[in-house]
Amino acid sequence: MADVSLENVSKSFGKTVAVDDITMDISDGSFVVLLGPTGAGKTTTLRLISGLEKLDGGRIHIAGRDVGVETPAQRDVAMVFQQYSLYPHLTVRDNLAFPLRSPILKTPEDQIAKRVKQIAEVLQIPHKLDNKATELSGGEMQRVSIGRALVRDPAIYLMDEPLSSLDAKLRADLRVELKRIHADLGSTLLYVTHDQIEAMTMASHVGVLEEGRLVQYGTPKEIYEDPSSVYVASRLGLPRINILPASLFPGSHKAPQIGLRPENIRQGDGIDATVVRAEHLGDQTRLHLELQGHAITTLTDPHTEYEPNETIKITPENPLYFDASGARIV
């Protein structure tokens, strides 16, 4: 395990700038999540670190070593891809052992057996070791493919949306498991996703990417509570933060835009808003409101009934303010 650092890293494909001057430190033992929509540069950043893409500019250090000219194999990284790729004719045991049997590593068989057993236990699949890969469920296959990266002890694990092809329940289980595995192994992990739940629940640090640039880097709590822009504020939080003209609310800050998370709208006093629809999600009810032509979403008690067109009073509580370009002011 090791520190990984990116210094002014850039990469273009033709005229498209995929990664634009990213500087970032991934400290030893941390779980860093790169978050952003499709095309933000997440996967390219990962591929630059692994050596699958060549840098246009900047430097990457792994354990203090400039890896710019090294091949992927020399960099000592382990990658997990979105689609699990197992050898279908091999057992789970042989799939897990495969990376260790690589001629470069020359690991003795008794050590391989020990490591495979250890990882199988971490992944909670020791009873499946003698099954063929094809006899596994989707979740088990993805666990094995994560396991194939984990059997090695690389400087850093690089994971590219490893959970995105799984169904919701399994994803929730594996989120907890990955976090536990990370804690157990004390490994350094860089994880790419567009799923904000994964970013918030697993990361020690989140890097938010926008069009190839790293626009904020911090703990999930810092990013949620103290976002640097409208873009960042909109990445975390469900339902999404409401961005409105600040002038809608009398007496608020003179900034052009006000940002109100659904939980930062108090009901009972303030200005009139019209109920459009209440969505009962069970544990919470989302209330869709209209305020002078602007749509607002807030949360309310699951057992309160609202009729469409009913008028309620709302007032901002701990709002965020942004300038016209979307940069945070207060």
Partner: protein
């Protein structure tokens, strides 16, 4: 406008029973969800309403008229498929007007109708574009336009958002629901996504293994699940089940697990045997002193709330608590439950035991 009544409908494919005797009513103007895991019979049910499959037995009524054995063309129902099949050689206008042309509607009337529909969908500015270059969202709007333009009595939709990515899906779900609110047409919608069903539906039918497990409003199904399957399928994280063996009387008010007593809603039926105490994550409080002990395994930050995974003597439990409370992995705490929200289940059959909480909802 249509009310759809499903009465004892059953469907067999050879030896395989896709849908067992099912009955429910879809009221006029409802946005109605058929929800369940793959293979549960929800799509077959939808296809029977549309006439793409004929029931083996039972009846389907559309506005009081029996239509069970009629071909799709005589049902006046529009079907929107998972993949939006558009005519690639026609432009947007051509695609939307096609169903009217084939009905022989006069050209001027078609023009007026297409203008009206494209206004509802917000696609007036792309009417003359070829469909090939459209974004996913616009393709979906065109496909919807083609269904709406006929003004059918009802819409059938089979996972229309299934192929979209999460962010766009959320957006289209809101748009679909808003469209429904403007038009007020009865819509039957198939999905395996419980959040989508809760978000968009006026009513939900939950199916599993060819059987209707429960039928009701989203909040009812969430608060008063009829079976362990429903309790587990709805909600994220799903309901916690703490297994125990014992007996409850006709009017019991508490149960005990490993010596800790928990208040429950008054029971309405006696039971003896293997049970499970069902409690939702947000109905669990962590306290230092409560006698039912649990060890913290993990905490997941979610903004305003966090999900805490704990290990109890009866298995793992997930609790949803405010994120400003600090919990540390490894520490041992006590658990308290909101008594009024607890459901007891018969673990053998998965059925919820009747109580003052759910007696209005459960039948039979």
């Amino acid at each position: 406008m249509a009310e759809i009544v499903i009465k004892n409908v059953r469907k067999e494919f050879g030896d395989f029973v896709a849908v067992k005797e099912s009955s429910f009513t879809i009221e006029d103007g409802e946005f109605f969800m058929l929800l369940g895991p793959s293979g549960c019979g929800k799509t077959t049910t939808l296809r029977m309403i549309a006439g793409l499959e004929l029931p083996t037995s039972g009846e389907i009524y559309l506005d009081g008229e029996e239509i069970s054995q009629r071909p799709p063309s005589e049902r006046d129902i529009a079907f929107v498929f998972q993949m939006f099949a558009l005519y690639p050689h026609m432009n947007v206008r051509g695609n939307i007007s096609y169903p009217l042309k084939s009905q022989g509607m006069p050209r001027a009337a078609i023009k007026e109708k297409v203008a009206e529909v494209s206004k509802i969908l917000g696609i007036e500015d792309i009417l003359d574009r070829p469909v090939g270059g459209l974004s996913g969202g616009d393709r979906q709007r065109v496909a919807l336009g083609r269904a709406i333009v006929r003004e059918p009595k009802a819409f059938m939709m089979d996972e229309p958002l299934g192929a979209l990515d999460a962010e766009f899906r959320e957006h289209m779900a809101e748009e679909l629901r808003a469209l429904h609110d403007r038009m007020g047409a009865t819509t039957v919608y198939v999905t395996h996504d419980q959040l989508e069903a809760m978000q968009m539906g006026d009513k939900i039918v939950v199916m599993n293994n060819a059987v209707v497990e429960q039928f009701g409003t989203p909040q009812e199904i969430y608060d008063k699940p009829a079976t362990m399957f429903v309790a587990d399928f709805i909600g994220s994280p799903s309901m916690n089940f703490l297994p125990f063996h014992g007996q409850v009387g006709r009017d019991a008010t508490e149960v005990s697990l490993h010596g800790a007593h928990f208040h429950i809603p008054h029971t309405r039926e006696p039971f003896e045997g293997d049970m499970a105490l069902g409690v939702r994550p947000e109905h669990i409080q962590l306290s230092d002193s409560a006698p039912y002990r649990a060890k913290v395994l993990a905490a997941e930050y979610l903004g305003t709330t966090q999900i805490v995974t704990l290990k109890t003597a009866d298995g793992e439990v997930k609790a949803r608590i405010p994120s400003h409370k600090t919990v540390t992995a490894g520490e041992t705490l006590g658990l308290e439950f909101d008594a009024a929200t607890i459901t007891l289940f018969d673990r053998q059959t998965g059925r919820a035991l009747k109580s003052e909480l759910n007696e209005g909802v459960l039948h039979g």
